[in-house]
Symmetry: C2
Subunit: 98 residues, 2 copies
């Protein structure tokens, strides 16, 4: 499995719009076992996302999906920066949906 833990900072006031775009874009991505979006309670502009994929190849391929490309196009201008990006190797747990 391949995992990502990331934090992005939205343009002030645009966090909810970024989250909406992401949640719309991540439906039905092949090989995606978990993709959870969270607000940072300590920073009104910060968004955490945690991802688990069956492989890095599935993650990379997802970036070419029409729904994902549309979400990136929509969200990109509303994101000030990517602050954290950590690759992980998930080994198990609860909530790894097919």
């Amino acid at each position: 499995m391949y995992g990502l833990i990331g934090k992005m900072i939205a343009v002030p006031g645009q966090r909810d719009a970024v989250i909406d775009a992401i949640l719309e874009g991540i439906k039905g991505m092949p090989g995606c076992l978990s993709y959870i979006v969270a607000k940072d309670p300590s920073n009104a502009d910060a968004i955490w996302f945690t991802e688990v994929w069956d492989s890095k190849a599935s993650h990379d391929a997802s970036l070419s999906l029409p729904a994902v490309r549309a979400a990136i196009t929509k969200a990109r201008p509303l994101i000030a920066k990517f602050e954290t990006s950590i690759e992980t190797t998930p080994v198990g747990g609860h909530g790894l949906g097919g």
Copy 2:
């Protein structure tokens, strides 16, 4: 929802034993929507865990479950330190099992 993103460092050589204890302990925790354990590919002793709960109360209550207490007892001597602990407010996504 209530979330946690954390990183712990195992005693050298004990990462797999810690992971086994955690995975054994987290089965069937009420209110746990996601609990994923991952290795850090850049540090042979590091473990990432990402959690989503229906509420902070469910998370706190889980620490009293017999299986969780047994896992903590087993893993605690094998953990060198907790390096990162971030609270989040998950808002949606894929893989939020009941």
